[in-house]
């Protein structure tokens, strides 16, 4: 899954050598890409590590809700495509863990920290995918949002992350097109298919809007993440571009933007048409701000699927331990029956 990296970061560069920091900032400002052997502020190293690790975690957790649908895909071609997509996402995780390793944290520590909830992954993977319509919507909206975000990350300053983004984006393009094709197919189908797609759209529009992270703080353009080109566009700017692209497309498809109320399982319990979802005189489409209390609640681990996603990841880690031992020529005793 397209786990674009938007962890909430606070970076304090005040402990750095001011002369070296000035040279570093000058290089970044002039467009030089930073390679692993270059001097970099410790705060930059830490920030990039957290960003890449968060992104890697998101890729492998993001594969879980879609992986559950491989056996229930509606056709052989869709099944092949979904299998390939899940394989891609896990591969993205492996590449991003490598970027993180080079920044100073072992792969094993990252996998273990994820299992015990010490590190986070993208919020949007803590929502349920109860129908095939959700799979279509995840690939269209979430992967579409990820491409927007990751294209800007590919313009960042850290060379290894940029190289990885280029490779990942090539595959995200397939994920997005596949999702687009599914949504278009469903919305040209039966009344039941259209209703299923609308319900999935209602579930995923909010998480898609939240995808780009919390609202910008004043002065964020001058803060280290943007000054050091770890990010190259603000959350709100990306969010507006996303809405401008997808709101009119959804409308033309026959989908309606709703403001939704959801229960603790992420299922919509009430909704009204979002009257603000129209273009202004500048062509910017309006949208109702998502529930930011919900956003932070999910980050803290209290979303509809947080416990389930982490449990499955830990289950896989524990059950796979004997395989890791076996390939290393060690003890191959099987774990107790699950």
């Amino acid at each position: 899954m397209s786990g674009a990296a938007n962890p909430i970061m606070t970076i304090d560069p005040s402990q750095e050598d001011p002369d070296k920091l000035a040279v570093f900032e000058s290089r970044v400002a002039s467009g030089v890409l930073i390679e692993p052997g270059d001097w970099m502020p410790q705060a930059y190293r830490t920030g990039m590590l957290r960003m890449a690790e968060h992104h890697a975690n998101s890729e492998i957790i993001g594969a879980l809700p879609e992986g559950e649908w491989i056996t229930r895909a509606p056709s052989l071609r869709r099944k092949l495509a979904l299998t390939a997509k899940v394989q891609d996402e896990v591969g993205h995780g492996q590449m991003l863990y490598r970027v993180s390793q080079d920044l100073g944290k072992s792969r094993e520590d990252m996998l273990r920290d994820l299992c015990i909830g010490k590190t986070k992954y993208h919020n949007c993977f803590n929502y349920p995918a109860p129908t095939w319509g959700d799979i279509a919507m995840i690939q269209w909206l979430i992967d579409g949002a990820a491409i927007m975000n990751q294209k800007t990350l590919a313009d960042g300053a850290y060379g290894p992350y940029v190289r990885t983004m280029h490779r990942i984006n090539m595959e995200e393009a397939f994920h997005f097109k596949s999702g687009e094709d599914m949504v278009l197919t469903l919305m040209s189908g039966t009344k039941k298919q259209k209703a299923m797609t609308q319900e999935a759209f209602d579930r995923w529009w909010g998480p898609s809007i939240m995808f780009f992270g919390p609202q910008d703080k004043p002065g964020c353009q001058d803060m280290p993440p943007m000054r050091w080109r770890m990010k190259t566009e603000t959350n709100d700017s990306l969010r507006q571009r996303f809405v401008n692209r997808f709101a009119p497309a959804a409308r033309d498809l026959g989908l309606v933007n709703h403001v939704c109320e959801k229960d603790e399982h992420g299922i919509v319990t009430g909704k009204r048409v979002d009257e603000s979802c129209v273009p202004d005189e500048n062509g910017n489409w309006g949208f109702t701000e998502p529930d930011w209390d919900e956003f932070f609640r999910v980050i803290r681990g209290n979303g509809p699927c947080n416990a389930h996603r982490l449990a499955l990841r830990r289950f896989s880690y524990e059950q796979g331990a004997w395989v890791r031992r076996a390939i290393a020529g060690g003890d191959t005793t099987l774990p107790p029956a699950a």
């Binding site: 056996t71 390939a84 792969r107 984006n169 995200e172 097109k177 497309a249 290393a328 060690g330």
Partner: protein, 205 residues
């Protein structure tokens, strides 16, 4: 939903023992055609180089069409520092290759952020000499030069099938482009579709 996904999981009190040190880091390269240069694909973790080749085939060999894969341990490369704009070739020293000396593969990076691409093979008695010769011969207009002993690189077998030959358009964006365009055309104006497509990753369609 499958039963495994519905169950309430129970866990051991602690995670399984730490497995660090079991896996080694390898760098994988792919060649898109026979006789084409090998291009950096990415890293792979594996317990030994044979498995690293197998893993690289599954991981990087299925991302794009390729006919050969190279893999070597990260520790087996020697490289120059990454230059700001270009290496000075005069910082290296050329010499005469002797066939009886080991072969070294030279990889170069044109700009910061670019991937490393196989550039040449040379013969030299040791890695330092090989790197120095590689810099003298190939450093111009490059930001970094790497050398790896040829006998430390493992590869797929000649004629080994890596990229599967059945129709794989289901896993490529271009496999959907025409169908998607046709379906959009049924519900949207051409200019709206063009506007919408501006955020596509055009290079890959």
């Amino acid at each position: 939903m499958s039963k495994i996904r519905q169950r309430n999981f129970t866990f051991a009190d602690e995670l399984p023992p730490h497995a660090d040190g079991v896996m080694h880091s390898y760098i994988a390269y792919t060649a898109r055609k026979d006789d084409a240069p090998h291009r950096y694909a990415g890293y792979i973790s594996a317990p030994d180089i044979s498995l690293a080749v197998e893993y690289a085939c599954e991981h990087y060999g299925q991302d794009e069409e390729c006919t050969n894969i190279w893999v070597h341990l990260v520790e087996d490369l020697l490289e120059t520092p990454c230059a700001e704009e270009s290496i000075d070739p005069d910082s290296g020293a050329d010499g005469v290759d002797a066939d009886e000396d080991p072969a070294w593969v030279v990889f170069t990076q044109n700009h910061r952020g670019d991937i490393h691409i196989e550039t040449a093979t040379l013969h030299a008695p040791d890695s330092k000499t090989a790197l120095s010769r590689a810099v003298a011969r190939h450093g111009d207009s490059r930001v970094q030069v790497r050398v790896v002993a040829r006998d430390r690189i493992d590869s797929t077998e000649p004629d080994q099938l890596i990229w599967r030959t059945h129709d794989q358009t289901y896993r490529l964006a271009r496999g959907y482009s025409k169908s998607v365009r046709t379906k959009w055309a049924a519900v949207r104006k051409a200019e709206d579709i063009d506007e919408y497509r501006k955020d596509d990753i055009e290079n890959h369609f």
